[in-house]
Assembly symmetry: D2
Homo-oligomer: 301 residues x 4
């Protein structure tokens, strides 16, 4: 359980202090502020701050487009128009800051999204806690035999048990040794910046991560996708829920055009036109590789 | 006068609606929200939204540094430490959104700062207003004779009058023709995206500009500097005042370490060491070009 | 004619000095180096330098994917796979630097793409040349009556002539006055940073623009599109040709998946599925606005 | 030894194929191309490609400043001027691509520099090699007692031996188990994306890292600094040597103004002025904290 009573008391204290502001507020987001959403076995995600709401998007678009935009009669329609036509700058007018606790191997994927602001807990400066991600048995998946980057069936029985034992034992031993190296009880004690190298990639770290809504959507499109690794997807899915509460119109457009949408190639469009006309298509007729054709059928499936 | 009674009424309406929020608020910044600060003859700058306060900076730093930071006994000290050691990420945790009305030639300089979000009024989509920047007589400066990128003495008498007349007449005529080209009264009317090309660089545009505090400081260091062009500097100076009200501790550190500070080269440090020892230095002894030496004396002057 | 004999001589000199290098070279790009491609009436675009070729993309991807990528038997297939699945980082491994001469109103659109490096000719420091964009008669388009951001029919007869006269006369007079203000013949002479404000948006500027291939493709997708303004599209189209010569496999994938492709919403996919099954669809059945439906038919048209 | 004979043969092959190019070349950099510079016990850094040379910097600056720059009579002087006045865009015109093999905990620090392009070997897709960083005995430093983020004395005797044993044993065991989990010999075999979580932070990864010269200098200023962790500093120092060969004039200016230079606060400048006048200063008179005063003395020491 990631949240200790002390931490919960601190969250409650933060939530008890309401302030007056003249800024735009999002009632759906105020509900989430500071609250710890538990993710994985020791992870969490919390909203620490936010800027803007659905209205901030249309307000920015109306600066861009002046009086002309009155033709789009309502805000939801305008937001859908902006999303459909890849007008990204109005979505950049909203900003959100999360506090995230996550395993290091997830953090390493996450950080590849560069257009965000990050403050990570420093294991050079401070000592990490004894917390490691150990998958639930139903997430102990075999290597996919058809996709180098995917999971296949779930491990079972002795094999599953052996994996869990190795993960737990190695993490425990590594952390014991980490503490032993650091200890200056009767000895000098290794520098933190060196001792940390003994910790495995399932140790938990934490950070503040701040991003604008356009780049958050980009992150969510890739990481809430079925092809994303489960351990980052669960964070992305939680952020989807939060974002839906924060900016419902923008999230609705994102869901329709990005999460639920698809990109077709020129060849894909051509194939579809012929299918609509009743032609019986296959990969060869479409001029596609087997992979491309399978993916197109997946979209139409 | 840039603010019409209608606009002021709209601002008053925005300022009359207070909301409850659990987010951090900055009382100094709430005062500024939506208020129009007049800049130049028709320009303005307004705070539309903000995220975070001084405390958000130390909070982010404390995630980075964990318990270790308790050694820095107070927040101001920690903020000064972060600024001194170029720890930029905690300052990125604060964000601000401005509405700015500014001449196009100022906008062209401003936009070179790429790490910001921008929504500009589109002259492709909409029609620009008849508003042009005409300098005050005391800003009608001659080309500097020693600096290609600077101003010298102020123009006077007939020369000044001739310049003002040309600026006003050309702007007026260009705008008259802009309207005439656009007009579809008895004719087709030129496309807006083409007609705009007739407008001079002193026409006013406007945009929403959103930036994090670290990048704002970077902008202010360059644009509130004495070497910046006057017409952008007046915007930067107004933003300095606003930022001082928003995050007083961070702004204080910025003022001491950046605005009032200086970068010395290895040669400059060496020269200073010798001056402290009582040596009588000059450019040659310091191994500096005339320009470098003059700049060093400027720092020590 | 944008290229003077002196400039051509300089280009010829640059092209006459071949060097030995161990770096990857692209024969298709070597042909373009330094050559001036004329665009609009006084504009040009030249390749000044480049880094990488098609092979640099797959090389980077193979670092990412190690031995696993051997399954994709050839480079073109791998490049198509990367493009289809939005793996953008391998495309970032190629870089190109252009020298571009373009009207200021085009530069203002162009610069909104922030992920690039830019050095623009400074009208604060130097004096701009007397060169202005005046559209060809067949580009003198009326405002579109259905799209705020588009062009309609071509102006004709007296209206066209009046527009051309105004553009030419205003540009000439503004430039005459620019020179007069700058002149220090018997007077002080206005500072360049001020005098430039009298120049209209069709004056030509120039810059060095350096960008990686991923961001170049993003730029081209938006600016070589039929909805982009003609005056920027002609630059984008020229860059498409150059890029096709530089990295033919990557450009081929870009053409198929981006330029010729389309994004469908969840609603769009659903509508297509029903059309393939033979259902007779319309906007209402698809749950789409009139605009969305029109756009979907455009894709399938 | 990080370079196997096979790898060396591949490097030799790459170095044996010279091409003709019309691009700018840097003879100092050609020497480095593809060569493996060994760093730490199994790490390496190699230049894979580059764009531009010292001349590309002044060429870009001269586009910005036009004819005016002729006043700075030579290129080195212009480059020094640009560096001194924080004109960063001309330095962005050069680009370099490195292949780096480095421990994961070093990679995690490195990646915080966001303005670069990265392709990392994917442990989700492929299997990492059995290579771990084990410090040399003289780098086995104790935690600093005065600086949370630093190293103190070197560990000795039994304590040092115990640390080395733990690092080696834990890495070996973790990797044995990693292989065991992955193995599908008589069982399913855990997915690579999961098995990797058992590997410690001293395992080696590798990536292609591409960056422009301005951002490289920013990286080097922070990471070649005496306060940087030794394990990243050795990479930065090697890159300093390479960069000095690539762009000698720019590197010289960087060395003088950044690496060897210092930032003084307004208070620091004031204290120095008084010291030059012969006043005997201390922290209190300077209005500085003990830390600031110590740092100022460090600059002047």
């Amino acid at each position: 359980m990631p949240i200790t009573p002390d931490q919960q008391a601190e969250i409650d204290a933060q939530r008890s202090e309401a302030h007056q502001t003249l800024r735009a507020t999002s009632p759906g987001m105020e509900k989430h502020l500071y609250q710890a959403h538990e993710v994985l076995d020791h992870g969490l995600i919390r909203v620490i701050d936010y800027m803007g709401d659905d209205n901030a998007i249309t307000q920015a678009a109306r600066v861009s487009y002046g009086k002309g935009t009155k033709k789009v009669s309502n805000d939801t329609g305008l937001i859908r128009y902006l999303m459909r036509h890849w007008h990204s700058t109005p979505f950049e007018m909203c900003e959100v800051k999360f506090h995230v606790k996550l395993p290091v191997f997830v953090a390493r994927q996450w950080i590849r999204h560069r257009t965000a602001n990050v403050n990570e807990y420093s294991a050079r400066y401070s000592i990490l806690d004894r917390e490691f991600y150990i998958p639930e048995p139903d997430q102990l998946a075999a290597q996919s035999t058809i996709n180098n980057q995917g999971r296949g069936e779930t491990l079972e029985g002795k094999e599953a048990q052996a994996v869990l034992d190795m993960l737990r034992d190695d993490a425990t031993r590594s952390y014991d040794h980490y503490e032993e190296m650091l200890s200056d009880d009767g000895k000098k004690g290794l520098a933190r910046e060196l001792a940390r190298m003994n910790l495995p990639a399932n140790v938990y770290t934490q950070w503040y991560w701040k991003v604008d809504l356009h780049n958050l959507f980009h992150f969510l499109r890739l990481r809430a996708d079925a092809h994303a690794q489960y351990e980052i997807r669960v964070y992305a899915e939680k952020m989807c829920e939060i974002t839906a509460d924060w900016v419902p119109a923008a999230y609705g457009a994102f869901e329709d055009y990005r999460l639920g949408g698809a990109n077709l190639s020129a060849k894909g469009i051509d194939a579809i036109k012929r299918m609509i006309k009743g032609e019986d298509m296959d990969a060869e007729k479409a001029g596609m590789s087997a992979g491309e054709w399978r993916e197109l059928l997946g979209v139409l499936g």
